[in-house]
C-alpha cells in the first residue's frame, strides 16, 4: 500500500512538473509584431537608403517632395502607385531577405530593405 501511494505521488509530481512547465511557457510574453518602420522620400532620395527590419515589419514610405515618386522593387513584386506629396505606401515584409527597390519615375533613386 505504501509503495502504491508513493507511486501515485511520483506520478502526481511528474504531472505537476509537466503542468508547471507548460505554465512557464504560457507565462512568457507572446511574440509582439515588430513596430512599423518609416522611409522618407526627400529631395529625390529614400532616407534611410538602407533600412534593416525584423520579419513581419510594416514599412511605410512617405513622399515629402513636390514631385510624385513610386516604390518599385527590382523584381517588380512590390509596387506602389504614384505617390503625390505627403502620400504614403506601406508594405509588410514577411520573409527575411534583401529587397532592392527604386522609383520607377526617377530610377536614380534607389533603396534597400534588409529583413532579418
Amino acid at each position: 500500500m505504501t509503495r502504491r501511494v508513493l507511486y501515485i505521488a511520483a506520478i502526481a509530481t511528474m504531472l505537476m512538473a509537466i503542468l508547471a512547465g507548460r505554465q512557464t511557457t504560457q507565462a512568457a510574453p507572446p511574440a509582439a509584431p515588430p513596430a512599423g518602420a518609416d522611409v522618407k522620400i526627400d529631395n529625390f532620395a529614400f532616407t534611410p537608403a538602407t533600412l534593416t527590419v525584423r520579419a513581419g515589419t510594416e514599412v511605410t514610405w512617405t513622399n515629402r517632395d513636390d514631385i510624385p515618386h513610386t516604390v518599385l522593387s527590382d523584381d517588380k513584386s512590390i509596387k506602389s502607385k504614384a505617390l503625390d506629396t505627403d502620400e504614403k505606401f506601406s508594405y509588410t515584409f514577411t520573409k527575411p531577405g534583401t529587397y532592392s527597390y527604386f522609383c520607377s519615375l526617377h530610377p536614380k533613386m534607389k533603396g534597400t530593405i534588409v529583413v532579418e
Binding site: 529631395n43 529625390f44 532620395a45 517632395d65 513636390d66 514631385i67 510624385p68 527590382d74 502607385k81 504614384a82 503625390d84 506629396t85 532592392s100 527597390y101 527604386f102 520607377s104 519615375l105 526617377h106 530610377p107 536614380k108 534607389k110
Partner: protein, 322 residues
Amino acid sequence: MDERGKDEILHDHNHDGIDRRGFLKCMAWAGTGALCVIDGGVLKSYSLSRLSEIGEKEAEGELSFVQISDSHMGFNKPANPDVASTLKAAVDKINALPIPPQFMLHTGDISHLSKPEEFDNVEQILKSANPKTVFYVPGEHDVLNDEGAQYRERFGKGSQGSGWHSFDQKGIHFIGLVNVMNLKAGGMGSLGAEQLAWLEKDVTHLSKSTPIVVFAHIPLWSVYPEWGWGTEDSAQALGHLKKFGSVTVLNGHIHQTMQKVEGNVTFHTAASTAFPQPKPGAAPAPGPMKVPDDQLRGLLGVTDVNYIQRRHALAVIDSTLG
C-alpha cells in the same frame, strides 16, 4: 568686325561647320532666348533681342512649328500654383508669332499626375491655339499607374508600341519617340529594343538629304546623368540616323533650354510652361525651382522652329513667357 560677325563660326577645325566658340555662344544665350540657324551645316547663333536685325528672311521658312513642353497640369505648389494660366500665356505667345506655326509638338509631361481632368484641361487650353494639330510624346508623368493606356487612348491614336510614331511634313521626317517607360533601377531614360528596331526600319527608305526632326521627352543626350537627365540607349537611336545630313532633336523634361551640336545632330531642350528646374548640379535635387513671382515667366517658355527649305536649315528660337 561688327557684333554679328563675332557670333559666326571663326574656326572650323573639323570642317564640320561647328567651332567651340560658336557653340558656347549659343549655349550662353539659351537661358534668355536664342536663335540658332543651322545653315548648310554651319551653326549661326543670334540673341533673341536682336531678331529684328536679322530680318524675316533669316527666320522665315516653308514650315513653321512650335514645341511646348512640361505643362504639368495639376501641379499647384509654390513656384507656380497656377500652371493653367502660364499654359494660356504660352498659347497667347504662340498666337502672336509673326509667322503662324502650322502645328505644335508637345514633348511630354502634359499632366502632373495622369489624371483625366488634367489631360482635359490641357486639351481645352490648347484648343485656343491657332495651330489646331498637336503631336504628342508622353513624359513620365503622363503614364502613371496604367502603363500609359490613358495617354495612348487620348494622344497616341495610331501610334506604335508605347506611343512612338512618325510622320512627314513639307519634306521633313518627324519621329516621336517614347523614353519614359520600363525604366531600370539606377538608369536613365530608355527607348528599348523594340522601339529601336522600329526606328531603324522607319528611316531605311528615306534619302540621306531628308531633314529629320526627332522629339522625345527625356533628353537624347547626356545632359546630367547624375539626375537621370539622359537616355541610356540614345546612341543606338542616333546611330540609325547617322546617314542623314540634318538631324534636329527636340526634348523637354529638364525645364530649361539647352543646346548642343554633335556632327550633323543639333540637340535642343525646351523650357517648361509650368515651373523651372535648377541647372544641372546647382541644387541637391532636380525638383521645382522656387523663384520670386516676378521672375517666374522669364524662366518659362515656348520654342519656335522654322524650316528654310531652300537653305536646308532649321531655325530654332526659344522665347520666354515673361
